[in-house]
Structure formats: C-alpha cells, structure tokens
C-alpha cells in the first residue's frame, strides 16, 4: 500500500512539475481547454436561467379555473376541497366581486362596468401547479375541467409547449456542442501528451530497460492529462462566472423595464467541481489514447 501510494504521489508530483516547467505552453493549452469547456458550460447556465425566467414569468404555467355564473358558495367550497386533496401546488380564490373591482380599476373600463345590469364575471381560482411539465399541466387541466360547476379551465398550453420545445432544442444543441468541444479537449490533450512522450523518449527507454512497468511509464502522463483538464475546467468556470457577472446588470435592467425582477444564477460550487471533474476525465481519456498509441514504438 505504501509503495502504491508512493508511486502515485511521485507520478502526481512529476505531472505537476511538467505543467509548471513550461508555463507558456501550459497557459496556452489551458486557454484552449478552458474556452472549449466555457461555451457548453455557459450554454448550460444560460438555458437554466432561461428556464427559471420562464417559470417565474407572470401567468405562465398557471391554470385559471372559472366557475359557472350560478355557482354557489357551497360549490366554491367543493372546488377548494378538491384542490386541497389534489395537493398540486398553490392556489388562490378570486371572488367575482374582486374580479369586477379589478376590472373597474382598469383604464377606460369604469363606465362600461357601471352600465352593466349585473356582475358578468364568475368566481375563479388561480392554480400554480407544483409540476410544470407540459404533459402534467395538460392532465391537470383535463381533470379540473371535469369537476362540477366548472365552466372553463384556461391554460396557455401552446405557449408552455413552445417554450418547452425551445428548451429541449437548446438542450440538444448544447449536448452536441458539448460533445464537439469535449472531443476537441481530448484532441488537445492527445497532442500535448504525444509531444511529451516524444520529448521523454530517452527516459522512457531507459526506465523500461531497468524494470519500469507500463503503469509506471503511463501514470505521470495520465495525471498530466487529468490535471490539465481539471485546470481547464476551473478556468472555464471562472470565464462563465465572469461573463454572467458582466451580463447581470443589463439583464436586471431589462427585467425592470418589463416590470419584473430577475437575477442571473451563477454556477454553484457543485457545478464548478463537476466542470473540473469533467475536464479531468476528458484529459485522462486523451492521455490514455495518446500514451497507448505513442508507447507502441517502445515495444
């Protein structure tokens, strides 16, 4: 166990020294890897912010339930009971008197409302479902429509479906982009390691002659690839945070112009660690491919 640890510690230290020994090369490689990871990472966070924006937008993913005009207080109580049992998120009752007052308050509507012989508006419920998936919203809408004394159930499902389709398309594009740039990262690491193997061919040859196993030869290159990928991932996270911070002000101003508030979500510590981990994994894969091919000439 001590020997195993000692070998890994030495390989890790050797990989770190190699990164440090050529700072300019390392910096350029990290920039390439960092930028390659920044684009999909930024896309992921941007889509997530967009999803949050869609969820928070007023009226979106809400179901409006309108009662019959002749619905009694008992009927309203029955609907409240059903909503409570369904436990499908939050809901709010809007009595027809309150709806009329709001209508009167609207510009140019006071006279029209005053001329009406009676209140034409029904009692209503505004439901904020817990599950905002389009399919779940549609199922809930159909269920509510079947309840007694319910005249109309309104869900802007077309908007929700379009928004969801847009998000799915965005996710798909993001995966494709991530795959493409991931392959780029593997290629960058592959080439860096190949050059390193060439530069250290004398050491590899001697080490093999005096009893180095394949694992001993390969290990520092694996660590190098993983370290380079991890640092590239951290750089990408820093770039994403920097870009989002720059965008935060203008996005807030834009939201204010529409009468709302919205602040961009920055990547969390878990996401940063995942990004670094993904970079390390791809770097390791690139190193493995490169070392396997490059070391064949020593066999």
């Amino acid at each position: 166990m001590n020997t195993w640890l000692s070998l890994h510690r030495a390989a890790f230290a050797s990989a770190f020294r190699r990164l440090w020994a050529t700072p300019l090369n390392t910096l350029l490689s990290l920039l390439v890897i960092g930028i390659a990871l920044t684009l999909p990472a930024f896309g992921y966070i941007a889509l997530d912010n967009l999803r949050a924006l869609g969820s928070n937008a007023s009226g979106v993913q809400q179901i409006s339930l309108f009662m019959n005009l002749d619905a009694s207080k008992k009927d309203v109580g029955e609907i409240e009971n059903r909503l409570r049992q369904a436990a499908n998120g939050k809901w709010r009752f809007v009595p027809k008197e309150e709806a009329l007052k709001r209508m009167q308050a609207s510009e140019g509507m006071a006279e029209i409302v005053a001329s009406l012989p009676r209140n034409p508006l029904p009692d209503a419920f505004i439901v904020d479902p817990a599950n905002t998936e389009p399919e779940a919203l549609e199922i809930l809408r159909k269920e509510i429509a079947g309840w007694p004394k319910v005249a109309h159930v309104q869900l802007d499902s077309a908007w929700v479906k379009r928004f969801d389709a847009f998000l799915r398309l965005g996710k798909l594009a993001l995966w494709m982009l991530a795959g493409l740039f991931g392959a780029g990262l593997v290629a960058v690491t592959f080439n860096t390691i190949r050059l390193q193997v060439m530069a250290q061919s004398a050491e590899i040859e001697v080490a093999r002659m005096i009893g180095a196993t394949d694992a001993f030869i390969r290990r520092p290159f694996y660590y190098f690839g993983a370290l380079q990928g991890a640092f590239g991932g951290l750089l990408a996270a820093a770039l994403v945070v920097g870009a989002l911070r720059m965008l935060a002000g203008p996005v807030g101003e834009l939201a204010a112009l529409y009468g709302g508030t919205f602040s961009l979500r920055l990547p969390g510590i878990v996401e940063v660690v995942l990004l670094a981990g993904l970079g390390a994994l791809l770097g390791w894969v690139g190193a493995q491919l490169s070392v396997s091919l490059s070391l064949r000439k020593f066999d």
């Binding site: 001590n2 020997t3 195993w4 000692s6 070998l7 030495a10 004398a202 050491e203 040859e205 001697v206 080490a207 093999r208 002659m209 005096i210 009893g211 180095a212 196993t213 394949d214 001993f216």
Partner: protein
C-alpha cells in the same frame, strides 16, 4: 543461477545473432562474454536481461524461465539485474543523483530512503561529491561509474554490462574493472560482455567465448 539451453536469437530478416548457445552461470560467479565484434556478445547480454526474447531455446534465471514469461512479468524480472551499457544511457536533463534514483523510483521507494541509498551508491563509485552535477559535465569514466551506481543502487543479484570500458582510456577502464571486481567480491554475480582481454589477465573470470553467434 543462470541456465541457458540451446538459446537462439534470429532477427527479422533471418540473421542469427546467437545460435544454439548453452551455458550455466552459478550465483556469485564473474563471467566474461568475449568474442570479436559481431560475435553476438551484446545480443546475449540483451537476452539474459530480457531486453530481447529468444527465438528458441530456454533461459532460466533464479528458477524462472524467462523465455516462457508473460510480457507483464518482465519488468519485475529486470529489477533483479543491474544493467550497464557501453553508451551508459544516462539522462542529461537531471543531476547525477537523480539518474541514480530512477530504479528506486520505479521500485516505489520513499524519496528520503531513495536519496540515502542513491548517495551510498554514488559513494561506492567515488562520485558522491558530484551528486548534483549534470552527467554531461562528467568525464567518460565518471559517466560510466555513474551508470554503474545506477545499476547497483537497487541491490541487484546480477550485474550485467555490455562493453563497459569500450569508450574509455586504459586508466579509466582499469578503475571500472576494479569496481566490478569489488561487487563480485561481495557476492554479486557479474556478467560482462567485452573484447578487452585485460579482464582475463587481472581477474581470471569464467569465460564464454562467442564466434559468429556460437559458443566455442
């Protein structure tokens, strides 16, 4: 103990460097492999050290049949040998001590212990004061002594050398001979391929004489 039976090495193209060679080297012996240039000395050293694999025949070292050994087991066998090459194969991007430490790093020795043993090996060959020097700054004789220090630092049971004095003047060559003799004196099996006849006159070793790949 090293036992070779009907050992043959044929290179791609059909050239047979070693032909049907059989011999036995007892532990602790000093053996000289001699012969003119192209006689097969270097190939025989490479076969014993598992750098090359025989085309046919068997080679048993300390009870292990190297000819039938899995590829993954070979590195562990090589650690029982201390190898000294004519061109030393030193690494010029690091100090003399770091060169000597390489076999210990491969064996996974803790750094502090490795340095202690590396310095002891350098001391044995008279290079302790040059531990920080780059090998390129050492003379030919010193470079060869450094190569010997690297070969013995892991306390091998067999010290194998291919023309270790080939590139040296008489004085430096004699110093190298003395170092090999010292290791032989403490029980290390020493196998040296050389065309330098002064070894025979000074140490009266067992001799394996090769001619066109065959043992005479």
């Amino acid at each position: 103990m090293i036992v070779a039976s009907n050992l043959t090495k044929r290179y791609p193209g059909g050239f047979e460097a070693v032909k049907d060679v059989s011999f036995e080297i007892v532990a602790g012996q000093m053996v000289l492999i001699t012969g003119h240039s192209g006689a097969g000395k270097t190939t025989l050293v490479k076969l014993i050290s598992t750098i090359e694999r025989p085309t046919s025949g068997s080679l048993v070292v300390n009870g292990q049949n190297l000819s039938a050994m899995r590829r993954s087991a070979i590195p562990h066998v090589r650690r029982h040998f201390g190898l000294v090459f004519q061109d030393q194969k030193l690494l010029f991007d690091r100090s003399a001590l770091e060169n000597v430490l390489l076999p210990l790093q491969i064996a996974g020795l803790p750094r502090r212990e490795a340095i202690r043993r590396g310095q002891a090996a350098l001391d044995k060959v008279g290079l302790l004061l040059r531990e920080k020097a780059n090998p390129i700054a050492l003379s030919g004789g010193e470079q060869q002594r450094l190569a010997i220090a690297r070969a013995v630092v892991n306390r091998p049971t067999v010290l194998l050398a291919d023309e270790p004095t080939g590139n040296l003047d008489a004085e430096s060559g004699a110093a190298i001979l003395d170092i090999f003799a010292d290791f032989h004196r403490v029980g290390v099996t020493v196998v040296v391929a050389t065309h330098d006849q002064s070894w025979i006159e000074r140490y009266h070793p067992n001799v394996l004489r090769l001619d066109h790949g065959r043992l005479l």
